[in-house]
């Protein structure tokens, strides 16, 4: 039982990384990115392509994967910035439909593009054995090094994001423009640029999540939508407007799914969905809705 809980927590760490970008984009500009999961998978495949390129140049050990990941992050930042500035900014407004349709369209484009470039075969990122290494704990338990690393990254990312929001000028701008766009512009803010920065940061998180997912397990072009659902569930269970809440929601989802998988492999995801729906009915604002301070 303890092992299941541990594994659930570590899985939740990954789900937190899936969800942070979504939480950020929705928090700042009320934009629901239905292509969230597909962008994560795009990140995975971008890393795979990078690895293939490095291998062709003769560099193919575990460290290559980290080099690729580091290189991918600034690329993701620029990509997210450009996407928001030139495509998504045009869809914002009171009507949620345009942003939903455009991101949904992007989801379809990405899935089919990946299918075309990489075929439907599942792939993964070579980590030089890191994904099977484990640490022995007391009481005969063992946890994987990679899942632990992912969990740590999730903790750091959540803390960093929370600090960004509460302690920096950019974070103030994010909160201001989300509260009252018109008055924020009156202060000298350019909402288009602020939104672009928000998405840029969200995409760094997406790229991170994609690479880690590809290291942890195999990925294939059609995996995106399910990751979106997990990210979304984590955000709702945790409560909107709080990054620590998203982390807690993700951990709960991870634990729930692991328990489900233990009972029967076919029921893991289903139980996660059900718990999400129960939380939605009983406490729609989530467990830790936006708290001040």
């Amino acid at each position: 039982m303890v092992e299941t809980l541990l594994q659930g927590l570590l899985l939740g760490g990954l789900y937190c990384l899936f969800a942070l970008g979504q939480s950020l984009m929705f928090g700042v500009m009320r934009l629901t990115n239905t292509a969230q999961g597909d962008f994560i998978i795009l990140g995975s495949f971008a890393a795979i392509a990078g690895m293939n390129a490095l291998a062709a140049l003769g560099w193919n050990n575990g460290f290559a994967s980290f080099a690729v990941m580091l290189a991918l992050l600034p690329l993701a930042f620029g990509f997210g910035y450009a996407l928001q500035r030139w495509v998504l900014n045009g869809t914002l407004g009171r009507d949620p439909l345009p942003s939903l349709v455009v991101t949904f369209g992007l989801s379809i484009v990405i899935q089919n593009l990946l299918l075309e470039l990489f075929s439907a075969d599942p792939r993964s990122i070579e980590t030089g054995g890191l994904n099977t290494a484990s640490i022995a704990l007391p009481a005969g338990l063992a946890i994987g090094v990679l899942p632990l690393a992912i969990f740590t990254v999730a903790l750091v990312a959540t803390g960093a994001l929370q600090w960004l929001f509460n302690g920096t000028r950019l974070g103030r701008a994010f909160r201001a423009v989300s509260d009252d766009k018109e008055i924020a512009e009156l202060m000298g803010l350019n909402s288009h640029t602020v939104y672009a920065f928000a998405t840029a940061i969200a995409f760094v998180l997406i790229a991170l999540a994609g690479v880690l997912q590809g290291m942890r397990t195999t990925v294939s072009p059609a995996d995106g939508p399910l990751l979106l659902l997990f990210a979304f569930e984590a955000v709702i269970i945790g409560g909107m407007g709080s990054f620590w809440g998203t982390l807690v929601g993700a951990l709960l989802l991870g634990i729930t799914q692991q328990i489900g998988f233990r009972i029967d492999p076919g029921w893991g995801i289903w139980i996660g969905h059900i718990v999400f729906l129960v939380v939605l009915v009983l406490r729609p604002q989530g467990l830790f809705p936006k708290t001040r301070g």
Binding site: R30, G105, I108, N112, E233
Partner: protein, 332 residues
């Protein structure tokens, strides 16, 4: 004192109604006049496009008029299909009769589903409905009586001769299309329909006028679920084989969104135009597989950003056309 008239139809709409009637007569007699070898594929193609169209029509009702954008209507589509199959295979009901029954049960299940779904709004409502659809998918995938994850066949139609089966399926599809259009049209012209438009424009103001917002939204959701269930039941009567991944695939909603957005959301003509364009694109380009789908996605993106009212909406603005007028014009 000038006499004010409320005009509810236009010359264009009256012409369209006549043309529509003619089309229905021509289509209904298709099995009689169509050449031998193209009869079967034409009818099958029609049934398929009819399902896409009805589903898109209902999605348009929900999103364009009801203001509820859902990515989970496929839940009712698949549910209607499975109910039809179960009634046919296990309860001995004639599958053709089971089609409207499946729709009815889908509408009934929409009521408890709405208790959950209505907790969310806007973009999160959309994804929440997708989660619910996934719950449906996973649930049916774990029921071995209907074949679990790999699905099962509609055995109840085994005894019927192929030509008869295809003819009846075709006529039922035609009837469903006419029924769906009529249902939506009448609903929107009714008092409930006006209430819906008021809610869409300003929910708070509508509530203050005494409009039952929640009740109206529930009504639309149930009607949309009925239509989706109808399309699903019809599809699998034609397809004869059902599986959770096919029944509850998000692609149904994806294509519906495409048709409605291209045609123009919030107009009845929208899905009609969109379905025709979709059918044409499908006919000529679906052979290109992934590139075709990428093209559809890009087209939807471009139309959403640059032609906010869809292509028909753009034409309506430009030329003032209206085939299914639901507005009332005051002529003094």
């Amino acid at each position: 004192m000038t006499h004010a008239q409320v005009i509810r139809s236009t010359p264009g709409s009256r012409a369209a109604q006549l043309a529509g009637l003619l089309l229905i007569v021509v289509a209904a007699t298709l099995p009689l006049w169509a050449p031998e070898d193209s009869r079967s594929p034409w009818m099958r193609e029609f049934v398929e496009i009819a399902c896409y169209f009805i589903f898109a029509m209902m999605w348009n009702l929900l999103a364009g008029y009801g203001g509820m954008v859902s990515i989970g209507q496929q839940a009712f589509f698949g549910f209607g299909g499975y109910v039809m199959l179960m009634l046919g295979n296990f309860a001995g009901v004639n599958p053709f009769v089971a089609v409207p029954l499946g729709a009815l049960v889908a509408a009934l299940v929409a009521v408890p589903v709405s208790f959950v779904a209505f907790r969310l709004q806007g973009g999160y409502f959309a994804i929440g409905t997708w989660v619910i659809a996934d719950v449906f998918r996973l649930s049916f995938a774990n029921v071995s009586a209907v074949g679990g994850g790999s699905g099962t066949s509609l055995t109840a139609l085994r005894g019927i001769e192929k030509a008869t089966r295809e003819n009846v399926t075709f006529w039922i599809a035609l009837a469903c299309v006419v029924a769906a259009i009529t249902l939506v049209y009448l609903f929107l012209r009714s008092k409930r329909g006006l209430a819906l438009l008021a809610i869409r424009d300003n929910e708070v103001a509508a509530e203050s006028q005494g409009i039952d917002v929640r009740g109206t939204k529930l009504a639309v959701y149930v009607v949309a679920a009925f239509g989706a269930g109808l399309a699903g039941a019809l599809y699998f009567v034609g397809n004869l084989r059902i599986s959770p991944d096919a029944a509850f695939s998000v692609n149904w909603t994806a294509f519906a969104i495409f048709m409605v957005v291209i045609g123009g959301i919030g107009r009845i003509e929208g899905p009609v135009v969109g379905a025709l364009i979709f059918w044409a694109l499908n006919k000529f380009f679906s052979g290109y597989g992934t590139w075709y789908l990428m093209g559809l996605g890009l087209l939807a993106i471009v139309v959403t950003i640059y032609f906010k009212q869809g292509l028909w909406g753009w034409a309506q603005r430009r030329f003032g056309l209206s085939l299914f007028p639901t507005q009332r014009t005051l002529r003094l």
